[in-house]
Amino acid sequence: MLELERVSKEFSARRGLLRPGPSFKALSEVSLQVARGESFGVVGESGSGKTTLTRIVLRLEKPSSGRILFEGEDMARLSPIAMRRLRARIQIVFQDPYASLNPRMSVHDIVTEPMLIHKTALGLDRRGRSERAAELLALVGLAEQHLHRYPHEFSGGQRQRIGIARALATNPAMLLLDEPTSALDVSVQAQVLNLLHRLQQQLGLTYLFISHDLSVIRYACDRVAVISQGRIVESGPCHQIFDAPSDPYTRMLLAAMPAMVLSG
């Protein structure tokens, strides 16, 4: 469904106003394939290129080289109108549910905004949008009465549910989950992970799951790519990577992971 072919991204630091400085390779020749209906995890430490990868998939950045294919189409060749249509098909859930919801918008406005932006694709009138918003809230485990409240009235876990409802508003085929639970407590994290799992089964979604937390990735994903310094050092089915890692970096990462197993 999503395919990255030798994607690289360089950022150049400017020395002077017009003098280009040395360039920094944030991603180098990253290739990966995400199949329809699966959860694909990308795990790495800070500075590894995880964020650059999400920005490139969302086409907020253009790759310096390489191709990105979504449902077989090269993103770079799409016309602006086709690109706009494609954007409705890939949506994102952000890390921080405190920063990613506009405090001055009601839940209704937050959830219907993407429908307004993709009005032509969805063809929903005002009433249709409101009905869909209520449906979406029910889908993520909130009630219709929450529609007219504001983000500050919700807990972190509830806000993340609102973020998920917003991401689902345009009927996407794929969700990009950028550290969706790292700002949450474990008991709430468990609820959100279970919700994501249920939604995936119900709606047949494809997930690209970005995280630094290996245990979350192991729980939530089918396949995983370990990324370090802009390169994919190892990728494969989750059980293989976690049970029999072959790359020294992956092994180090797994060894550093705080386990609940008590020694001695």
Binding site: E45, S46, S155, G156, D185, V186, S187, V188, Q189, A190, Q191, L193, N194, H197, R198, H212, L214, S215, V216, R218, Y219, A220, F242, M252, L253, A255, A256, M257, P258, A259, M260, V261, L262, G264
Partner: protein
């Protein structure tokens, strides 16, 4: 075993005044820490773990905070009765602190050396033997000694080439290195008690492991007592000797790490552990905790966990739960501890 604990918190009650009324945020916290013990204080957001830590160093602004009762005995003295001046002679000297975010806790406009020297000089003011200078030494001699000590400490926390690095600015260090600098700063006064509030939360796992190993090594070297505040039970299993689990201002379960994590008994501890994505848990198999943390302005009567507890009975709502000793210092504040354990 006969040695009195270094720190003893007894029945600590703290209330915070807010616009909506007074919130009873710490409701009878008990904790005692001996030398060489690393106590993990775990719980979820808002359970009072940080406030407990901050109370020991008396850094909770008051107002809005008000201590309703209880005592914090450090080396026999009740810290709640001390004047600010007396507290200042303890902070940075006998009580060291490390906070979560290494990027905001160093002043960006001063070299790390100057910041370390400041702390060393202040500690030296209260205990001249730390600097190792003769009494009545000149300011310059003390400064030279403080710098020497700062270099020594930087080396100890694993900063390569400390003699040059001491003149670097904070932005020249990575996150993990800054946390090392802060640990050096906390240890420069040779504290007896170290309070580390989420010291590794902002760091990558590989760096986290190094920092935890450093803290454990330093505890052995200096015979300190440590309170390590964290929300991560994995960190507790990795670094602590003892653990106290907090929920809504209560310590619900405490004891050695082996006892508490090996045989978790309080329903909240069990729920917390069931929520961790452990190896072998099938997708969809995690158990989240239903319901919400109680409103601390009008907390439920009796056990604060009762409204979310799977085995709560009417008696749980009637009065605060008794602290039940399960053996070897493993204490569970639950009326139905026996049943919980059997379940």
């Amino acid at each position: 075993m006969t040695e009195p604990p270094l720190l003893e918190i007894r029945d600590l009650n703290l209330s915070m005044t807010s616009f909506d009324g007074a919130a009873h945020v710490l409701a009878g916290v008990n904790l005692s820490v001996r030398r060489n013990e690393i106590w993990g204080l775990v719980g979820e957001t808002g359970c009072g773990k940080s406030l407990t830590g901050l109370s020991v160093s008396r850094l909770v602004p008051s107002p809005p905070a008000r201590y309703l009762g209880g005592e914090i005995r450090f080396d026999g003295r009740d810290l709640l009765g001390l004047e600010e001046v007396q507290m200042r002679s303890l902070r940075g000297r006998r009580i060291g602190m490390i906070f979560q975010d290494p990027t905001t806790n160093l002043n960006p406009v001063f070299r790390v050396g100057e910041q370390l020297v400041d702390v060393a000089l202040n500690a030296g003011l209260h205990s001249p033997e730390i600097l190792g200078v003769v009494p009545g030494a000149s300011g310059r001699e003390r400064r030279v000694a403080a710098r020497k000590l700062a270099i020594e400490m930087l080396g100890k926390v694993g900063i390569a080439d400390p003699t040059t690095r001491i003149d670097a600015y904070p932005h020249e260090f990575s996150g993990g290195m800054r946390q090392r600098v802060l640990i050096a700063m906390a240890l420069i006064g040779r504290p007896d008690l170290l309070i580390a509030d989420e010291p590794t939360t902002a760091l990558d796992v590989s760096v986290q492991r190094q920092i935890l190993a450093l803290i454990t090594a330093m505890v052995q070297e200096y015979c300190m007592g440590v309170i390590l505040i964290t929300h991560n039970l994995g960190v507790v299993a990795q670094a602590c000797s003892h653990v106290a689990v907090m929920y809504a201002g209560h310590v619900v379960e405490s004891g050695t790490v082996r006892a508490v994590l090996g045989r978790p008994t309080h329903p909240y501890t069990r729920a917390l552990m069931a929520a961790i994505p452990a190896p072998g848990v099938a997708r969809g198999g995690l158990v989240g905790l239903a319901g919400q943390v109680p409103n601390l302005i009008a907390p439920p009567p009796g056990c604060r966990f009762a409204p979310r507890c799977p085995i709560a009975a009417d008696a749980c709502l009637a009065g605060p739960p008794p602290a039940i000793e399960m053996g070897q210092g493993h204490v569970v504040a639950c009326l139905k501890a026996d049943q919980a354990r059997a379940a």
